[in-house]
């Protein structure tokens, strides 16, 4: 049997280690593009301003007077439902109640991707 030449095994081993580490670095580089893209998309698709806007006007509507010549509160709240659904592509549901001391507002917002729920209390 021919004698196996086992010289320079360390060099071969180092070659393997270096090539594998290069390989993993390549994977990291490869994934970084995807990660950057998805993060940026998630940030720009999150309806931050939509939620803020609809939240503000819901709370404003709670303090409007109802009845009399115009049903301000009923009208505005009805219009919030309709306009968020048709122009914002989002479903909103909100109720308000008062127990003499506090006014409570429950706000629910859902555009199919992002859901937002809030319990708001005043004062």
């Amino acid at each position: 049997m021919a004698r196996l030449n086992d010289d320079a095994q360390w060099i071969v081993l180092m070659g393997f280690i270096v090539s594998f580490s290069l390989f993993f670095l390549a994977i990291v580089l490869n994934q970084s593009t995807v990660v950057g893209q998805t993060t940026a998309e998630a940030v720009s698709e999150f309806p931050k301003d939509d939620i803020r806007g609809v939240r503000d006007i819901i709370i404003e509507s709670v303090f409007m007077d109802d009845g009399g010549t115009y049903n301000n509160k009923t009208n505005v709240q009805h219009e919030i439902h309709l306009l968020t659904l048709s122009r914002g592509g989002a479903v909103t549901n909100f109720t308000n109640s008062t127990d003499g001391t506090y006014t409570y507002v429950e706000i629910h917002y859902n555009n199919g991707v992002t859901a937002y729920n809030e319990s708001w209390r005043y004062p």
Partner: protein, 177 residues
């Protein structure tokens, strides 16, 4: 007798071929994304500028209980007033020349007297129309309009069926010229 010399070379060859195969697999299998110069970054900035501008316009002076400028523009359908105020905010910058942001603003509201259909009308727009090549972002602001004064086509006067306060949505398309 089987010649068993150079077994190390054989093993090395197999390992190398595995690495090459794996590399080829990852390269072929990886997602390629072609984005023209990171457009989303400038879009996000434009969006922030626009919604800040609308926010400022919808803030009453010194926090008093008067109508906000945006409320007044919407109620009186004041196209030139909105144009001046809005462009002033978004196009002002340090340096000599102003920025070149263009816009088109729509008002969406629920139509009287049944309050079941919505209608969109143009509130105001800048000097340039939106062309197909322009990449616009959309920003919105809610306004409570008191339609007892002057107003939308279907609310002809004081004390009509659609009087009182109403929620309207101001939508602005913004793009850089």
């Amino acid at each position: 007798m089987v010649n068993s010399s150079a077994q190390l070379f054989t093993i090395e060859g197999i390992a190398a071929s595995l690495i090459i195969l794996l590399t080829a697999y990852i390269v072929v299998n990886s997602t390629s994304i072609y984005t023209p110069g990171d457009t989303h970054i400038s879009n996000m900035q434009l969006e922030v500028t626009g919604s800040d501008a609308l926010n400022m316009l919808n803030t009453a002076q010194n926090g008093t209980a008067v109508k906000t400028p945006l409320q007044t523009f919407v109620e009186q359908n004041d196209a030139s007033g909105f144009r001046t105020a809005f462009l002033n905010i978004v196009n002002n910058k340090s340096g000599t020349s102003p920025d070149t942001i263009q816009f088109q603003a729509n008002v969406t509201y629920v139509m009287a007297p049944l309050y079941t259909t919505i209608n969109t009308s143009i509130l105001s727009n800048s000097s340039q129309a939106l062309h197909s090549g322009d990449h616009a972002v959309r920003v919105t602001e809610w306004v409570v309009a008191d339609k007892t004064t002057k107003d939308f086509p279907e609310c002809p006067g004081m004390f009509s069926a659609c009087g009182g306060k109403h929620a309207v949505l101001v939508e602005v398309l913004l793009w850089r010229d």
